[in-house]
Symmetry: D2
Subunit: 391 residues, 4 copies
């Protein structure tokens, strides 16, 4: 059973590359996850509910949008510390990290980058404190990997914008107070703030899923929704603005999934050392050791990859293709690590009483959202060859 | 969406290797699955319930224990036809095939092979007709891969046997009228029929699982259960008798999972041909074609493997190591096929509205039960090298 | 060390699916390879020479073009027996099988299918008897995967055809008496017989290769080569005729590589059982058993795939995409089997004193020629999706 | 064709983590390899000869044993710079890096660590300057993965030691002036310096290999070789001393193979961008991009792994299990990268005119020597589980 004394996984002395603040933040979130999330998250997964009571606690830890330099100040956290927060959250559950990713990378970030001063002043403090919840409405039923084709329309009226369209697979949708809606104006794609109270807006929750069950996934329906001009994000121009948000979210994912992988490795190792078959711990079998070694080798490399990406990001010197590499690589490895852990757990692997199966199910979503493995392959491929192999 | 007109997957004209009766039986079950199971099984999976009303319908199709020569007659089906039934059932859901595997291979088979005439006369017709349900109690909490170490005890009393112990991961346990309990008598391991009404016997259902949710998995608790002498399976002597049952069940699994793989391939192919991204069906992308080609190549080989195994079994000329190869190989391939299908389905992959995710979750159990991948590796390895690499 | 008593690899009683003639032919070639090729082929590989003295011996065994119904007679061998011959030859060396593939599938076949009666009468007996050697000139330096783009030109003159162009990677080129040259006439692609004595024709051997060193690979240079009208293959019309030859050759490869895989498995198993480390045979280690089990599982499936393909071919009912599946799958598996065998052999894996390293090096060519893995993926992908994903 | 202007592979701005001296040393060796090795190394490989004339040039660059603090001085290079030298050498050929690894890690290192002052004074300057060549005699025909079982005997005589035994797979053996021989004294394993002139010592070269052909591999035969007491390495006590040398060599390998992988990636990328098939560069095909992306992702991670290992080594804070992870992981990835590159090169992949095939062949040896993949798996597995799964 998971212990409150999670030690992390550090085969290559990566802690020595972190500064004191980074370590402290990491350990704070680690402890919170051990204390609060681990004991109950399996039940939320089973019941298909998001743990709403965690929002205020997470806000108190002050990491929503913590890598954004709000109000002209230094950001609360550098990008490495922020990444470590994502890692620890996802050690608990991908749903918790998803909530934080959406809040910080997909709602606060675009308001900060593309919003008016009024929008910033109103929303950023409320989102940071967990008083308000946001969601990011880009994906549509027929436009997943190709968001540029989105068909949601925003028409200019005398008093503002009239928006029509459907969004799908929207994390937090049904619990959000505000949605960032990306719509085509006929000229280009722009972003709009749509509050949940707007007439014609609804956000039915999508159920029937076996993944991210401790997270809210929704459809957003915009049926002649009218919003005033001041709800437009004035500096968001074109798809590229939306994609910049995705880059933020992908960065967080690249870190987050290391936490999920650590949880699985730790659980599988512990199980293997204690599970006796044929008179000895299964950890003494070569076939089991091989799996564990694969797991820790990948975790180690993925830690180094995320760390270097974070250092580059802190220096303001990084590319979206570099982010794609870390997202693609780290998620796939975490998924494979979870699968191997489930394998080691034997029959126990399929229950919510262990963590690995839950992580495995969750990571199927994480593998897909914010760009599938294939899409990131082609983004990187385009970068290194100079030739785009899709569209 | 799944169609009632499922055509199967046959890239290598394997139908030409089947006789008319085999094809007819296959098509009958295929149609039943399309008509009855496909429309509702996702809901059962979601709700975590076994579709009890299917039992009598399956019994009418007369395939419970259909490859057993009951009553001195020829079996209803040869082993290939029986395998095809398993394939079609699992095209619907691994839970349905599991029910049939347990009933035929793990309950009727041991009664037929090791039972007294009275046991046969009483139980076999009732199990065949679905009037009674059985389960197979071998695995224990601490003895999964190594059933020989089981600690359930049967002590001889004046009037029969006193049984104490716990069994775990028992398919059908909570709905079974009778359990075949394997226990150590101090001398050797023997099999016993324990009816659900016996004092001290209980079978609490195991919930909190994300796999085989449309199947019942239970613990069996035997707390000073007394049974008369005539409840012993007289010809079951030692672990080897229990293992012979596993061989029967593994044979059925090797066929069954081809059905799950077919369902996933079919769904993924259909989706890929109809899902438009960047202006064309995703089936036109090389990375998608690569996945589909891997899937159908594996299905084709696994069909040939199962078929040759079935032909050998019909000739009475096969080994448990050959069964291990087909179980190990076909389940792993089916699992990988399901994973690739989920990948192709993108975000939709994680919902119960599509089949592939459900199959993927189910196959995690199938990968483990009746011998993990590693155990079968070592069984085959022992056979080819002459050296046992475990114990 | 390789033994003259090679038993083959047959984990699934596949011999029982072969008729007496097929077994007899197989065993005859198997013995010839054990007696003649195995003792010396490593030296030929090392020295980079083709064993010319084997040609007449192979001819005596009468399998050049043995699956072609020459002279209106039944073919000497059905396609399964022919496949088994390829398997046994390649158990010796891919170079020997390549010689037979070229002779039968790429030279005799097109003469038989597309040639005039005079061409057949003259060349087929001489090729069958090994008196003459042929080669197949399709591939060009810039047109490998896309032979349809070939730039060799044939211009009609008063007395015949004037051919100009370069061919590359031509097996047997430098030792061939006649080359089947595919050239563009301006209207379409046609085949021509070019004898080695023709003015302007030269066939320099390509050296500097680490693969198929016991086989001759050549460039063909056609510099204003004039041939009479009667040297045209009259029934060869368009690229499709050349591709039909490739289908023949691919069929033989799909069988052949099973032989290479068998040799590697057999050698690795034997080594593992006899190599002692840490006081026991390395075959007793789980990590070694895992490799051996992977090897034999793949061999077994590939045998079944080739056999079913052969049966379909004998019934005249098969498609080029089915051949692509067997070529692609069986070669890749053979290559991986060789790699695993080399791994098991440890340091010995890299010498010509063992067979596996030689096979591994050879199979790199076999993986590429007659269609790379990727090309076959896309051929199959085109077939199952109805969408061509290249060109 | 390889260019003198090799730019390296740096997708993650790893250069920014290197200091000026490290970059300068790296670039010096890089240029030397481009200028001197790349143009001719294929021919040496083909002819099976070590380029003896390179020894003095390498010595002038002063990197033999450059990470050893000889004479009480700071080492010439820190461990990262030393690793970069290995990387650049192996970008040329694994044989060149092997020569340097043996000289520095397996000959100079043990003399430095375990030798007497006289031994150090005599040998270290001569080895550093290339005036003398050394080799490391640990492996025996029957003791590869298990060197502790070696049977070479050293018997104490009146005047020194009498050594009898056979060593195998010894890099540099036939060209070495001195061999470090590890022998069992009956009490423990010790190291001895045996000069080539000693009566009874011979070092026949091992030919018939397809890997490391531009490197010398030898048997060492010690037939009643007498050496004086002062030829014993006085501080080498037990197998652990020999293993410490292996750790040095493994460290260099972990870096070296990145160079081989870079060469393959660079060549494959260049080829893919310039090779036209079906009217466009093959780099525009998704299946090709997928391979290239896999390659560069692995190279990036392996760079980070080696760098962190180097930094830990410079701090004197690292374990042999950490070295095992980098050796195992980086070699396997380099081998797979070479295989993918060969695949992209198509038919050209099998010639010595391209680099990738040569690297692929070489890396088969590198995968095995200094600990196979399996052995390193079990070393790491032992570390993380606390249970040794071999012996």
């Amino acid at each position: 059973m998971p212990s409150a004394l999670f030690k992390g996984v550090d085969f290559y002395n990566i802690d020595s590359l972190l500064n004191e603040e980074e370590l402290m933040v990491r350990d704070t979130v680690r402890k919170w996850i051990s204390d609060r999330a681990i004991p109950v998250i399996g039940r939320y997964m089973e019941e298909g509910k998001f743990p709403m009571e965690f929002i205020s606690e997470m806000a108190e830890l002050d990491f929503f949008g913590a890598n954004i330099p709000m109000g002209g100040n230094e950001p609360v956290l550098n990008n490495v510390a922020y990444g470590l927060v994502m890692q620890e959250l996802e050690r608990g559950d991908s749903g918790l990290r998803s909530f934080a990713s959406v809040t910080g990378g997909l709602v606060m970030y675009p308001i900060f980058e593309f919003g008016s001063q009024e929008q910033k002043d109103y929303w950023l403090p409320k989102l940071r404190s967990g008083e308000k919840i946001g969601c990011f409405g880009l994906t549509e039923p027929d436009y997943g990997s190709n968001p540029g084709g989105l068909i949601t329309r925003a028409e200019r009226t005398d008093s503002g914008w009239l928006i029509n369209g459907d969004k799908m697979w929207i994390t937090n949708g049904s619990i959000a107070d505000v949605a960032i809606i990306w719509a085509n104006t006929g000229e280009d794609i722009r972003g709009f703030l749509v509050e949940k109270e707007r007439q014609g807006f609804s956000a039915p929750e999508m159920k029937k899923k076996f993944s991210l069950r401790a997270s809210v996934t929704s459809e957003l329906i915009l049926d002649n929704v009218e919003i005033p001009f001041e709800n437009e994000l004035p500096k968001a121009k074109g798809l590229v603005s939306a994609l910049r948000c995705l880059t933020q979210a992908r960065y967080g994912i690249a870190w987050g999934v290391i936490g999920a992988a650590m949880a699985c490795y730790d659980e599988a190792l512990d199980y293997a050392k204690n599970r006796i078959q044929f008179g000895k711990p299964i950890a003494s079998y070569q076939l089991i050791q091989r799996k564990l070694v694969n797991m820790i080798t990948n975790i180690t490399k993925d830690q180094l990859l995320a760390l270097q990406l974070g250092r580059m990001k802190d220096q303001g010197n990084y590319t979206f293709a570099q982010v794609s590499m870390a997202k693609k690589n780290n998620v796939r490895n975490a998924l494979n690590t979870a699968r191997e852990a489930v394998d080691i757990l034997g029959a126990n692997g399929i229950t919510y009483e262990y963590q690995s199966g839950r992580h495995m199910c969750n990571l199927e979503s994480v593998e897909t959202y914010e760009g599938t493995n294939d899409i990131h392959t082609l983004i990187i491929g385009g970068e290194i060859t100079g030739i785009k192999a899709f569209e």
